[in-house]
């Protein structure tokens, strides 16, 4: 893989897709591609219930970056923690933080600021992006529905906030997203995941949420040999096997048709990953997926 590989064309990559598409798997595999190319990688998760570290047999990630392997660190972007850290960062001193944040009235006000949690998650991402410790940051984003509203928060904040630290931070985030961030979309060769991929691809471009990145089509079936179905047809005792194989081929070819709904340039350059049998656990499995991705970069 060359150093100008397509995954190193942005400092931040945000991986999204409909629930169930394997977006976390792809985020982790992308992180391993970068790590194996000698980059220092920070992997961020945004959904505490989908622990990425669990895939590697590690304890759940926390708000503090933790080393998972050589050149690979993981961190959780959790809104409550992020608010706390953002405050600590801004206020600099723990004693001051305690004086302010342990105050119930203050906490009340912070909860009242709409979308502050989502905002501060991006703030934390920005903070890590500014650090010199990582070459690339890969984010396992919320599933599609919340994704667009999440990435829109800095836009909304720059419009709505009076001048002040929040507005300035929102501007910084907007710049990071629009200039140094790509959105990678994971989809399946199925109707609804493709529809959502098209929707998000469109939103990213038209709302200028970030730059468009890769399309990854996940969990593809290997085609069966074309002569197999005719050869099995009418063979006694093998009707159920024929049915199984026919259904599988039906879904596979239908899936290819759904993929045509993607913009042609996206489809032509899409990364295609084959379906793997569960459980997807352990570094070896993700290294293998990383190699599958790398071969297509």
């Amino acid at each position: 893989m060359s150093i100008d590989s397509r995954i190193f064309d942005a400092r931040v990559r945000i991986v999204t897709g409909k629930g169930g598409t394997g977006k976390s798997t792809v985020a982790l595999a992308l992180a391993m591609v970068a790590q194996q190319a000698g980059k220092r990688v920070l992997l961020c998760e945004t959904n505490p219930s989908e622990s990425l570290a669990r895939f590697l047999g590690e304890a759940p990630l926390t708000g503090e970056p933790r080393r998972l392997a050589d050149n690979l660190w993981g961190v959780a972007l959790i809104p409550d923690d992020a608010i706390r850290e953002y405050a600590l960062m801004t206020l600099k001193f723990k004693a001051l933080y305690n004086a302010v944040f342990e105050n119930r009235i203050v906490r009340y006000f912070l909860r009242a600021v709409p979308s502050l949690g989502e905002f501060v998650m991006l703030g934390k991402l920005w903070f890590h992006e500014q650090e010199d410790r990582y070459d690339i940051i890969i984010v396992d984003a919320p599933a599609t529905g919340h994704f667009i509203s999440w990435l829109r928060v800095p836009h909304v904040f720059t419009e709505m906030m009076p001048a002040g630290p929040l507005k300035k931070s929102a501007g910084d985030m907007l710049q990071m997203l629009q200039q140094r961030t790509k959105v990678d979309i994971v989809t399946l060769a199925e109707e609804m995941p493709v529809n959502e991929a098209v929707e998000i691809d469109h939103a990213v471009e038209h709302m200028r949420l970030a730059q468009r990145g890769l399309i990854v089509v996940n969990k593809l079936f290997e085609p069966v040999p074309p002569e197999l179905i005719p050869a099995l047809t009418g063979k006694p005792g093998l009707e159920a096997l024929l049915d199984t194989i026919t259904t599988r081929e039906h879904w596979r070819t239908l899936g290819e048709r759904y993929l045509l709904r993607l913009p042609a340039d996206d489809l032509a350059s899409a990364i295609r990953l084959m379906r793997r049998e569960p459980p997807l656990l352990g570094a070896a499995v993700f290294s293998a997926i990383a190699r599958e991705i790398e071969a297509q970069l």
């Binding site: 409909k18 629930g19 169930g20 598409t21 505490p48 219930s49 405050a87 801004t90 206020l91 001051l96 004086a99 302010v100 119930r104 009235i105 009340y108 006000f109 909860r111 009242a112 600021v113 709409p114 979308s115 949690g117 989502e118 599933a143 599609t144 529905g145 919340h146 509203s149 829109r152 928060v153 909304v156 709505m160 906030m161 009076p162 001048a163 002040g164 630290p165 929040l166 507005k167 399946l188 109707e191 609804m192 529809n195 929707e199 069966v224 040999p225 002569e227 197999l228 050869a231 099995l232 093998l238 159920a240 096997l241 199984t244 194989i245 259904t247 039906h250 239908l254 049998e277 569960p278």
Partner: protein, 368 residues
């Protein structure tokens, strides 16, 4: 027909369908709604998922905050007398505006609220308030009495949990001492005299101002204080919704697929419901594959295929067996760990995508 589902659809007024993405939750909601409609109920299927999935399954071009009736005659099955099916997708901004209209005292007040910058941002489709809007809408629809049954399709599980907490969170927000304190400051300072920064000369408020910006704090203060009567209305509704959640007329159906992470989530969610005193009525496990009957490798060999095709057929059969074996293990785990095994229903993977009512109907046939 599954007695359990028949009973649920006959007895409940609200069925909340939860589960993570990609398991056919929306489709299942629509199929449940369709069956109840055919059984003679006036049914509404309400989705709060921001993705427009339900429209595809129901063959509707578009649908918004208004209920649209689904044309059942295309199905070729006549519903029992009185049965009808409608679908609606939550429009958060509209729902919020409607609530303001319901609870504010007049046109002038409504205008003032609508022009407030914070209101504008809050009422936009921002994350966080969505869950409250969903239950608020559910409540509004329920109050109209236009439906015998509402099937509520929710966002994936992590958000479905927020959804459960939403009304309570809202109530505790409004009951907080800080709000009372704020209101007292406001009334003491007189009508226009409320200035957070009066107190803000303190060390604490300076620090907070540094963090968030002083203007935004003042705006929040004004927003909260100015709209207190409106909030009381919201609070009243939130409390009613909390009661509704606990009511025997409402129950949850969890949808999952027979994979380990999906079953983990279903069990997690079921326990969470139990802890909260809510009713988990059933778990529907979708996308189960048909197991292959036993046949020997000899039978495949006897089919006189080329060695390559024999090899491919054996491989495919073995792969499929591994899949169905693991699905069986997951289904057993689900049945074992759930409160009552009879609560678990399963449906086979469809052989075609659902584009039409008849597709939904066939899915329903498996469940019922």
């Amino acid at each position: 027909m599954s007695e359990l589902l028949e009973k649920i659809l006959a007895e409940k007024k609200v069925v909340v369908v939860c589960g993570s993405g990609g398991v056919g939750k929306t489709t299942t909601s629509a199929a449940l709604g369709l069956y109840a409609a055919l059984a003679g109920k006036r049914v509404l299927v309400l989705t709060i998922d921001p993705a427009r999935r339900l429209a595809n399954a129901l063959g509707l071009e578009e649908f918004g905050n208004l209920a649209r009736e689904v044309q059942l005659q295309t199905l070729g099955v006549t519903p029992k007398p009185g049965g009808s099916l409608s679908a609606m997708m939550l429009d958060m901004k509209q729902t919020f505006d409607d609530m303001v209209a319901d609870y504010s005292s007049g046109v002038e007040e409504q205008r003032r609220i609508r022009e407030n910058r914070l209101y504008k941002s809050m009422s936009q489709a921002l994350a966080g308030i969505q869950e409250y809007m969903a239950v608020a809408k559910l409540y509004t629809v329920l109050e109209t009495g236009a439906y015998d049954l509402i099937v509520l399709d929710t966002p994936p599980t992590s958000h479905a949990l927020d959804f459960l907490d939403a009304p309570q969170r809202f109530v505790s927000f409004l009951d907080h001492d800080a709000l009372q304190w704020l209101l007292k400051s406001t009334s003491a300072a007189g009508k226009m005299g409320f200035r957070l920064l009066d107190i803000g000369s303190s060390y604490m408020m300076k620090a907070l101002g540094k963090l968030a910006g002083v203007d935004i704090l003042r705006e929040i203060g004004e927003f909260v204080a100015g709209f207190y009567p409106l909030f009381l209305g919201f609070k009243d509704r939130a409390e009613k919704i909390s009661q509704l959640m606990l009511s025997p007329e409402l129950g949850f159906i969890i949808v999952c697929a027979p994979t380990q992470p999906q079953v983990d989530e279903a069990l997690f969610f079921q326990r969470k419901l139990q802890r909260e005193g809510l009713r988990a009525l059933a778990v529907i496990c979708n996308r189960v594959h048909h197991p292959l009957p036993d046949f020997s490798d000899a039978e495949i060999a006897a089919a006189t295929l080329t060695p390559e095709l024999t090899h491919a057929a054996l491989e495919l059969a073995a792969e499929h067996r591994r899949l169905t074996d693991s699905e069986k293990v997951q289904l057993e785990r689900l049945r074992k760990d759930i409160a009552s095994a009879s609560q678990v229903l399963s449906a086979f993977e469809l052989t075609e995508d659902i584009h039409s009512l008849s597709g939904l109907f066939r899915l329903g046939e498996q469940l019922f």
